[in-house]
Amino acid sequence: MEVLALTLMAIAALLSTLATYLAITERDLLTAVIYSALQSTAYAIIFYLLMAPDIVLVYIPVAVGLYPAVFIVLIKKSERYEGG
């Protein structure tokens, strides 16, 4: 059981690393926000497996709901594509 939890944690950690890389390199900022939310989802899974359900309950609405929403509003008010 512990091995399964550790394996899932490792997969989630790898997924979050991949999502971080994609979020940094992406030129379309809207897509970058979605990659960032994907990374937060992986972190939520890790928090759950580390037996911190209180953190999961606050992390999901803030990191997957409110935080991308703030960025989407700000992107709408500024520019969607990173210059370069």
């Binding site: 690393t17 309950l57 606050v58 609405p61 509003v73």
Partner: protein
């Protein structure tokens, strides 16, 4: 371009490897997590619900909420204060921006997103609100609490603001004024609850502390742990309810201000619009 991407990938990989190596070597203490419980943790676990030691217990089976609002209540009070200072800062920056124009979009059909999005939001609104209220009200029994419930409620209120357009939400009562009033009610509730037992103690003429919950030795005043057979853990349920109100209303208030049209903000900042 190619070079830059490779550099970013290499930087991430090096950072993770260095961090893992440092943790494996014991950079964050001898072992992570420590193999045995510390004395403080043992005491928290022993006292979080312990009907045989009524002078020391919190009477809440959820140790995290017991620590957050009782054992270390003052810490949480100042955390809440910091969050609300940030929201007050936002309100101060947007001062003079009146977002309550009632002339636009009196009916639901005009403005906002497509009917599909509106129907989905209409169905999910009561469900998410129910979950949020359940998280807040069960904060002293199961994982969760005021902040968790409040931010869940703020997500669906934000969805309503975006999907049904800002002006329609204003028409339905989600305005800057009403959210400010709700938020202030929540904050006032937290402030009053933190000194509630102190006031009770002063009224009956015995010793009491701020952030006191259950009766302690030498301070026999306290709130009841159960209400009609249900466990309410004294002040914890009150703190959770008020925190939920304050967080939901505070975050929604910020979103109302952020979603306000740019032209309205500019004209208010230039000072050519006074109501």
């Amino acid at each position: 371009m190619k070079y830059e991407r490779a550099l970013i990938a290499a930087a991430i990989i090096v950072f993770i490897l260095v961090l893992s190596y440092a943790v494996a070597l014991g950079a964050m203490g001898a072992a992570l997590p420590p193999p045995d419980l510390r004395e403080l943790a043992k005491n928290y676990l022993k006292l979080t619900i312990n009907p045989w030691m009524r002078n020391l217990t919190v009477m809440s089976p959820e140790a995290v909420t017991a620590i957050v609002w009782d054992f270390r209540g003052l810490d949480t009070f100042f955390e809440t204060a910091v969050l609300y200072l940030a929201i007050i800062g936002t309100v101060a920056i947007y001062r003079g921006v009146y977002t309550s124009r009632k002339t636009v979009a009196e009916d639901e059909e005009k403005g906002g997103m497509s009917p599909i999005a509106k129907s989905v939001t209409k169905i999910t609104l009561p469900m998410v609100l129910a979950v949020a209220i359940a998280i807040a009200l069960h904060g002293h029994l199961t994982p969760g609490g005021g902040f968790q419930g409040g931010s869940t409620a703020a997500v669906i209120l934000l969805l309503v603001l975006v999907v049904f357009s800002l002006h329609f939400s204003m028409h339905k009562g989600i305005t800057k004024g009403s959210m400010l009033a709700l938020r202030s009610t929540g904050l006032l509730g937290i402030a009053v609850t933190s000194v509630l037992v102190l006031i009770l103690g002063l009224l009956v003429g015995c010793q009491a502390f701020i952030f006191q919950n259950q009766p302690k030795a030498y301070a026999p005043a306290g709130l009841p742990a159960t209400l009609d057979g249900m466990l309410i853990s004294g002040t914890l349920i009150l703190f959770n309810i008020f925190e939920c109100l304050a967080v939901a209303a505070g975050l929604t208030l910020t979103f109302i201000l952020v979603l306000t049209h740019e032209e309205e903000i500019r004209s208010a900042m230039k000072g050519d619009k006074h109501e």
